[in-house]
Amino acid sequence: MTNFVILAEQILSFIGIYYIVSIGLNLKAGHMGIPDFGHAMFFAMGGIVVGNIVSHLAAAVAAKSIPGVTVAGVIASNTKTLTIMNRQFFPHHPFLDIGLIILALILSTLLGGFLGWIASLPALRLRGEFLAILLLTVAEGLRVIFTYTKSLMGSTPTVGLSTPALFSWTHNSGVAATVFTIIMALIVYAFVERLHNSPAGRLFRAARDDEDATEALGKNVVTVRRDAMIIGSALAGIAGTVYALNPFLGGGSVAAVSIFNRVWWTFWPWALIILGGMASNKGTGLATIIVGVSLIWPVRLYSFKVAQLLHASALGINPDQFANALEYAFIGLIILIVQASLPRGIIPEPPSRTLPFEKYAKGRILPPESKKK
């Protein structure tokens, strides 16, 4: 039973976090057509907010009452300070924890958006693959800065910063973090669905499809691209915070820099939005659910057993490596098969459901896709 709960928590956390990351990327790449191959840097920003800023704030409060905790100790002796705080401080201050969670969300939105604004400056001049390569390079450079600057993300690339256990005041912090993740994903879904149908969202897609026509109608394409970049990056920042607060998937206890790599947080979201369909919020959700369930449940859990079976058949493959290989092959095959057979994704981009559209649909004969409502 407990195994089942942990499995469910892992799957749901994966789905929630990846949904927020992917929808941020979808806003940029799908709705606006900016090929952002540096998405991981905005995600890492959210991790830094939790691991660095929130820990400092909490330590400033805890230093008065708990011995052994100092503000300087958050970076200098990170593991020790955070272990003391996680045991003696956070479980007993529920309101402070909730406040810190809200603060972390606000900060990561602002910082992710700010970083997105900076990244949008070159995005206004370049197009297509060149922009993709530039953003990839910038993200890598930024990752190097994050990795080796001790005051940002701890001492070594693999150890990183321990994160504060802000859900330790609840009865079961794992369940609480999972519920929080899912609620955040739902809020983000409601937001992007609203955005999709709003004038701003329609403007994004108009500017993507025909820049000249959009400019002829009096809209500034430059600001539109900048706005999409800021909103998408802010969503990635939120995802980073949610990830760092979640004790699964390697986050939670330790926010290592090596976690914020471009495979997990740039290329996998790309695979997910390609599978789900560009500019399709529901499609991204469905893709995240499919990949989340199949990756965590059959691939990660049973690849070991499959490998053991193959091991018996004299192929002689190391089960550990086989599990790794299966994960990579899974993502690679998703990208290739979907691009070959379903270039528009499993749920293609829906039409905008504007207010007059709904009125029209209510009064007259319903169009086929709106019958569900």
């Binding site: 001049r125 370049l126 990839l136 190097v144 550990d320 086989f322 990579y328 990208i335 270039p343």
Partner: protein
């Protein structure tokens, strides 16, 4: 500064230029940035290593660390020369074959479906993941592990999984220093590649066909050029050169971690893209120079700057410098350093790019 201090930067710069030129070749022809390009080097390195280990085990070859002299030149060659040759050939052919497989099996069908260049770029990413998956299985197979165990009893420690191979490097005495064979090989190969590619693209019929296909594929098709095959040859060449770089990486132990699949996305990919873009994505010779430049910036200029400013921690941030190089190039001279007409600058007295 002696020659010895230059060796590691030169080696790295040569490898980068060999990999950058492949990115440029494949971009020029199909307008696709190939994410899987650096992985060719890894695949080629693994195949070359497996072949060489098999030969070593089969022929019971032992290491020969003695200093020998031929024609007055002192050298150390731990393994017989023909093993290096076999490894080199295997690596380059495997690299070329993987590249041509990507072109014909994935890119061509997707292109025919009318996918935009960006989608094709993402499909090379998918192929890259498949290669990583393949490597994870390949390097942990029983026959390979048994092979590595046998080889380690003959030539010393061999850890195939992390490419911790004991292919001790060869040395040649030049002047007063013993120069590593891999360093010299990388340099020579970079120079030879430049010369051969320049000759190929400018003087031969194939090169003219290639340039015309790049310039106007439809017109070339009308004139009877098999554009598909010409592009496939370009991709094969790109893979071939990447395979050579992979073979050379077998000997530079400190650089092996760049291509090991256990750390799948190390930053060499970014440096290679940087080299290709800084040098000029539409210019083969330019990209070789660009790769060289980025390599020297990362491994020679940044340590020098760190020493001058007495900030030793600066060395770790060397990728940030290539990041700025890419950003400045793309924003101000999008066709790369090769597109600058330096004669213009002399008249105007304008400043060049650092």
């Amino acid at each position: 500064m002696g020659f010895a201090a230059f060796m590691a930067p030169l080696y790295y710069a040569s490898i980068l230029s060999l990999l950058s030129v492949g990115i440029t070749l494949s971009y020029m022809t199909t307008k696709v940035f190939n994410f899987a390009h650096v992985r060719y080097a890894t695949v080629a390195a693994y195949f070359a290593a497996a072949t060489m280990l098999t030969l070593i085990v089969h022929h019971h070859i032992t290491l020969n660390a003695a200093t020998r002299t031929i024609g007055g030149i002192q050298y150390i060659m731990p393994l017989p020369g023909w093993i290096y040759v076999v490894g080199f050939v295997v690596a380059s052919i495997v690299g070329g074959l993987v590249s041509i497989f990507l072109y014909y099996a994935i890119l061509k069908p997707l292109e025919r479906k009318g996918l935009p260049p960006l989608a094709l770029m993402i499909s090379t990413l998918g192929f890259d993941f498949l290669l990583v998956a393949f490597l994870f299985i390949f390097m942990s197979e029983k026959p390979i592990i048994n092979l590595a165990a046998k080889a380690s009893s003959i030539i010393g420690t061999v850890n195939f999984a992390s490419l911790g191979l004991d292919f001790t490097d060869a040395y040649i005495r030049i002047g007063n220093t013993m120069v590593r064979g891999s360093v010299l090989g990388a340099l020579v190969l970079a120079v030879v590649t430049t010369i051969v590619l320049t000759f190929l693209t400018r003087k031969t019929k194939l090169g003219i066909m290639m340039r015309s296909s790049i310039e106007n594929p439809n017109l070339a098709l009308v004139l009877g050029v098999n554009v598909d095959r010409v592009f496939a040859i370009a991709w094969f060449l790109a893979g071939l050169i990447a395979g050579m770089a992979g073979f050379l990486l077998l000997f530079g132990t400190s650089f092996l971690k760049f291509i090991s699949p256990t750390s799948p996305y190390n930053s060499i990919v970014v440096s290679v893209f940087a080299g290709s873009i800084v040098g000029g994505i539409f210019n083969v010779e330019g990209s070789i120079g660009g790769g060289f430049l980025i390599g020297l910036i990362e491994k020679w200029f940044v340590p020098w700057l760190a020493a001058v400013l007495s900030m030793p921690s600066l060395i770790k941030y060397n990728k940030v410098f290539s990041m700025f190089a890419v950003a400045l190039t793309l924003l101000f001279i999008p066709e790369g350093l090769a597109s600058i007409r330096f004669s213009k600058f002399r008249k105007k007295k304008g400043g060049g790019e650092a």
